[in-house]
């Protein structure tokens, strides 16, 4: 009988603890979804929510402050996103705050990010609608990327044609790079230039030797000529033919 009672007590503890574990799990999951906290509701209207879902996180200044409660299509160009935000963050979120849609990392879920505006207005109220910024649409980015890829493809095609032309010796650059006769002419021009410069050098050497050899006699002749000229001028100065009148 005593053993029976002990077993019943053990069973009671077992069941209580099991239920407690389950309730703790529910509490912490509910805590994330703001079930056990004071909250307020705000909304924003987007043209495209880019895959945002009910239950996604709402972040303000990088901190998770709430969750998306509901997403409704209002018209063919607008989607209303309603969010539940922790009451304690209300004093930091002003009416001019701007909501945008981002993602948690490269492969992460979509999240709603509330960015502070200029901060000139009062704090946000329950059921207010805040301004939104349209998210970057990945399809548009891909579309733009596609045209870039098309252009790149065209450029590579053109480059391929140009290199083929160069290889076949077409055009100025092609002839310059691929024509053998041009290279031969260039070689012979270089050879001629080399020979010409050698001849010019010889000529200059001969001229230098000749100049060195004739310099002295030229100078003596010049001196003698200048002395003769001096005498002649002296005689002329004294001549009556020039100064006798």
């Amino acid at each position: 009988m005593k053993q029976n009672t002990t077993n019943k007590i053990r069973l009671g503890i077992f069941v209580s603890l099991g239920i407690a574990v389950f309730i703790v799990g529910i509490y912490f999951i509910g805590e994330r979804q703001q079930l056990f906290r004071s909250t307020f509701h705000i909304s924003g209207v987007f043209k495209d929510v880019a895959g945002l879902q009910a239950g996604s996180n709402v972040r303000f200044a990088g901190i998770t402050v709430g969750t998306i409660e509901n997403i409704d299509i209002v018209s063919d160009t607008s989607v209303r996103v309603e969010m539940v935000v922790d009451e304690s963050t209300r004093k930091f979120i002003k009416k001019d705050a701007i909501a945008s849609i981002g993602s948690e990392g490269l492969m992460g879920n979509k999240i709603l990010i509330i960015n502070p505006g200029p901060g000139l207005e009062k704090e946000i109220q329950n059921n207010d609608t805040i301004k939104t910024v349209q998210p970057i649409n990945l399809d548009e980015v891909l579309l733009s990327l596609k045209s870039t890829i098309d252009n790149t493809s065209q450029i590579t095609k053109d480059l391929s044609v140009i290199t083929t032309d160069i290889q076949t010796g077409k055009g100025t650059i092609g002839r310059l790079l691929m024509d053998q006769s041009l290279a031969n002419n260039f070689d012979s021009a270089i050879v001629n230039l080399k020979l010409g410069s050698a001849g010019l050098k010889n000529l200059m050497d001969d001229a230098k030797i000749s100049f060195d050899q004739n310099w002295d006699s030229t100078f003596v002749n010049l001196r003698e000529s200048s002395a003769g000229l001096k005498i002649l001028l002296e005689k002329a100065r004294k001549s009556w033919l020039l100064w006798g009148f």
């Binding site: 029976n4 077993n7 019943k8 053990r10 069973l11 077992f14 069941v15 603890l17 099991g18 239920i19 574990v21 389950f22 799990g25 529910i26 912490f28 999951i29 509910g30 805590e31 994330r32 979804q33 239950g55 998770t64 492969m107």
Partner: protein, 280 residues
């Protein structure tokens, strides 16, 4: 005395009319026929369970005793298994996530795997192995030794006393075991994360609860009731309808485990389909 014996035979006749025993052997030998007769027999058995479960008197003491034996006595086995599963799953998943530079997602990935699928299914399989075979063998040996007949003679409804209490205990205890299993499995994962890193328990568990949602927890929790019910019911059915003879005991225990494990996977597949349909 004559009255008691007469009543016993009347009760037995009534029971045989309600639950046809050994029909497969009597009527047909083809596999398909046997299968459908088994399904029919199990359906009648299940219907009788629902009939008996609401009809007083209620065997609360036996229910508590069976819950203790089925639930409390399975806790250590389930806890050890879950701890190892949590630890191994984390260690095995780490290299793949590290390739993508996503090691920080390890707690979240392991938690969702454990809570949604691995915790309930592994616990149910362990439960089927321990409890399903135990119930099957116990009831089969009672059947062989004619204790069930004796109970009928002594004005005790054996179905209510033996079957209803065990099936109810299995149905109620498995969800509690799964709650423990999930908690211990997550602790095992925390230990594994800290084998090659340094993550505080606060960060680990806050990451987990940040990523979990009610839609992860509730479908997994609800399906454990069905797992427990199926395991208890099949164990009782196989034991209660076992062949008279010593080999019938082993056969009942064996087929109870095999059939219960199979049913766990079938129920799991149905539950996953229903959950995904509801979430879409």
């Amino acid at each position: 005395m004559e009255k008691i014996i007469l009543e016993h035979f009347q009760n037995r006749k009534q029971a045989e009319e309600t639950v046809p025993k050994n029909i497969p052997e009597v009527i047909s030998n083809t596999v398909v026929d046997k299968f459908f007769l088994e399904v029919y027999s199990l359906t009648i058995f299940t219907a009788r369970f629902f009939k008996e479960v609401v009809k007083p008197p209620y065997e609360f003491n036996e229910l508590a005793k069976q819950s203790f034996l089925i639930g409390y006595k399975s806790l250590s086995l389930v806890a050890i298994t879950s701890f190892i599963i949590g630890l191994v799953l984390t260690v095995q998943s780490r290299p793949t996530l590290a390739k993508f530079g996503a090691e920080s997602l390890l707690p979240v990935m392991v938690a969702i795997s454990i809570i949604r699928e691995i915790g309930p299914v592994i616990t149910a399989l362990i439960f089927a192995g321990k409890v399903g075979s135990g119930i099957g063998a116990e009831l089969a040996s009672m059947n062989v030794t004619e204790q069930i007949d004796a109970m009928q003679v002594s004005h005790t409804n054996p179905f209510k006393y033996l079957v209803v209490t065990r099936v109810l205990s299995a149905t109620l205890m498995l969800p509690i075991l799964v709650a423990f299993s999930d908690a211990v499995g997550l602790f095992g994962s925390y230990v594994a994360v800290n084998l090659k890193g340094n993550v505080t328990s606060y960060l680990f568990f806050s990451q987990i609860f940040q990523s979990l949602e009610f839609k992860d927890l509730f479908p997994a929790f609800i399906k454990t009731f069905f797992f427990g019910f199926a395991i208890g019911l099949i164990g009782c059915y196989k034991g209660y309808n076992s062949n008279k003879g010593t080999e019938g005991v082993g056969k009942a225990a064996n087929s109870a485990v095999v059939f219960a494990s199979l049913m766990v996977f079938i129920i799991d597949m149905i539950a996953v389909q229903i959950t995904s349909l509801m979430q879409n």
